[in-house]
Subunit: 215 residues, 2 copies
């Protein structure tokens, strides 16, 4: 399945790197929860980092009910970006230096999750998406915690991916130059989990922590 590009999602620069394939878009969103949300507040542009998670054809993000970002985004146009930085691409000229990356841009109107049970279901989905099996291990949510949490969602109807991979592309004449060129691959790694200093004795790191991967 793929989506036709719109005026906003049609990639103009380096359009050979543009992708509109839904499976690829979902794979990028699922690989990296960290995103930035772009919105207007009093007519000025803001970009706020937060975590997103995907359920089917929607992404969600959340925070305090008192968050300026969430209030400013509600029922208005936003742009959500996820970028996975995969490498530095080093060419024989400064001009042809580049990056390898996988990136998604999603546009649309952010909607607020209103009903209590929907909010709880979305938060459970966030935890289970990141850490399968964790929700049922946790102390159950309190009603005041649900009330203090705002969740926004965005339907993935206007969305594009842009991907670059592989070696530098140099000018034909430049390949003969004695200049090192290639790629420095970058990878985000999850290091060994660190116990909370106040952890009660005898608890071991659960599988969903030991197996956590990102990027």
């Amino acid at each position: 399945m793929s989506k036709s590009p719109t005026e906003r999602t049609r990639v103009k620069r380096m359009h050979e790197n543009a992708k509109y394939d839904t499976a690829l878009i979902h794979a990028i969103l699922d690989a990296q929860p960290m995103c930035t949300v772009g919105y207007s507040f009093k007519g000025l542009p803001y970009v706020t980092p937060t975590l997103q998670w995907r359920e089917g054809n929607h992404i969600y993000w959340h925070g305090s009910a008192a968050s300026r970002m969430l209030e400013a985004c509600e029922e208005t146009q936003v742009c959500v970006n996820v970028t996975i930085f995969d490498g530095m691409v080093m060419a024989r000229s400064a001009f042809e230096h580049s990056c390898n990356y996988r990136s998604v841009m999603a546009f649309g109107t952010a909607h607020k999750v209103i009903h209590r049970d929907d909010k709880e279901a979305r938060l459970k989905s966030m935890v289970e998406t990141l850490f399968p099996g964790r929700w049922d291990m946790l102390r159950p949510m309190k009603e005041k915690e649900l009330k203090a949490t705002t969740i926004l969602g965005l339907e993935l109807n206007e969305v594009s991916a842009k991907v670059r991979s592989g070696p530098p592309i140099d000018d034909t004449d430049d390949y003969a130059l004695p200049i090192w060129a290639g790629v420095i691959p970058l990878q985000t790694v999850a290091l060994q989990a660190v116990d909370d200093p106040r952890l009660i004795a005898g608890l071991v790191v659960p599988d969903h922590v030991a197996k956590f991967k990102i990027g």
Copy 2:
């Protein structure tokens, strides 16, 4: 040195994590070139990932002179965000889960670097910031490449950092629960450099590649 927060840079949520210390802001910007630039285009919010580099009290980013993002940002208000994702913070309740991160938000009017020599100096600075010693190894820039490149700059006059580190902070009563809590540290690592398949024989990986670090 530190800057007083403005209406835009005063951190409202989790304000105990807010920092206005210039050295810290510079350190975050210098540690992670990948940023997102937020801007308005035809009245709608856009967020575009790109690389930034810092020279003194300015950051710069660049791209094709035909870039929609660069054209839309020129001489208008932007918000640039750099976020380094340092870890997943796992608490005993869903509500207290969090992230460790170092983040900078910079606001202001993006200005275009106009003069040829200034453009070349900025691009040299970008290359040398990322890869010390590389500029003089490269095939010199061509005039048409300089013309095809737009560079935007932002003075760091309205900027804040937000940092979270350390273990989860749980409700007092929850510390007694038999639930694993702690931090999964995340780190971006530069893997071993990959030679361009078309590299001429006998070239070795330069120091600025072998020693490249990020985050």
